[in-house]
Amino acid sequence: MEPSDEALCQRVAKRDEAAFDLLVSRYQERAYRLAWSMLRNAEDARDVSQDAFIRLYQAAGSFGGRSKFSTWFYRILINLCLDHKRKHRWWKLWVRDEDDERSDTILDRQPAPVVDPVDKMSREQTMKALGAAVDRLAPRQRAAVLLRVQEDMATYDIARVLKCSEATVRVHLHRALTTLKKTVEKR
């Protein structure tokens, strides 16, 4: 039987390198994807997600097991992303990375059912606008939306990750989705 994340984390606290490697393998893709969704830069996402694993290694002893490992780890990761955004806020006004441009990634991701080309174009533009609108959300709203949509996390768990009340998460999500809905309606 596969050991649980929580059991692995307890082994990492005792400096079990194999347990650490296994946890990294389990979470690397999710961590990198979430960091990329927050930061929109592949290199930053790689650095920040790796930093999150290093923090995990260093702080494994403080994981009490009262919450799920995933919630605890996502909190580390989201905090690092929010810190990174804070530090680079002014720099970003001057320099814009190529990764920031949302170019054609949506085209690559969409399955291509047979549809009217005009409808398809309109739909792709809407999706592109929606993705860009997510990028413009306030950082904590964006984190709440990404955890909800991308990681399919429950409100309770999002609250644990963002270290706030469930009511606050509901407000974050409501405001963010209201903003995004307006973006779609404008088109």
Binding site: A42, R46, I54, T105, V184
Partner: protein
């Protein structure tokens, strides 16, 4: 009609609400066409969002883990400065030097007399006081010129 469950709709759609709240929102949606429409739009929007956020550029995971290992090793090697051997030795040496200086300086101070300046030495020599400087220094007579005039005798032991 009860208040509109705006902020409850997202958790409701995911099934996060506790039973009592879930029933309340469900009842409200049956009665309120606006909220029902909002809920449907939100459901579509959440589905679209999952697709619109997209996927990051691909990563070579073996390389990613190797980089992570290197960073972790580097962090392990970077111990706190005060626990590193070299700064510790330097600090200990510095503390030792300071201790020696303090003790030596204290002993010098305890000898009690300030060295004479050249001018004082010349005057002292001319007055014949230099040989008895230790004695003279302890006398509070130096401002009395008459007494000073008699001090020459001290050198010859007549005083």
């Amino acid at each position: 009609m009860a208040r509109h469950p705006d902020t409850d709709l997202v958790p409701f759609l995911r099934g996060d609400l506790p039973p009592a709240e879930r029933d309340r929102v469900a009842r409200h949606l049956e009665e309120c066409p606006d909220c029902r429409q909002d809920a449907e739009q939100l459901r579509d929007l959440l589905g679209d969002l999952a697709r619109s956020i997209g996927q990051p550029p691909t990563v070579q995971w073996a390389r990613y883990r190797a980089e992570l290992r290197e960073k972790l090793e580097a962090r392990r090697g970077r111990r706190a400065w005060w626990s590193r051997p070299v700064p510790l030795a330097v600090s200990a040496s510095l503390a030792g030097v300071l201790l020696v200086v303090a003790v030596w300086g204290g002993r010098e101070m305890s000898r009690g007399t300030d060295p004479l300046s050249p001018d004082e030495a010349v005057i002292g020599h001319e007055l014949g006081l230099l040989q008895e400087f230790q004695t003279v220094e302890r006398l509070d007579l130096l401002e009395d010129l008459d007494v000073i005039g008699d001090l020459d005798g001290l050198a010859s032991g007549q005083g």
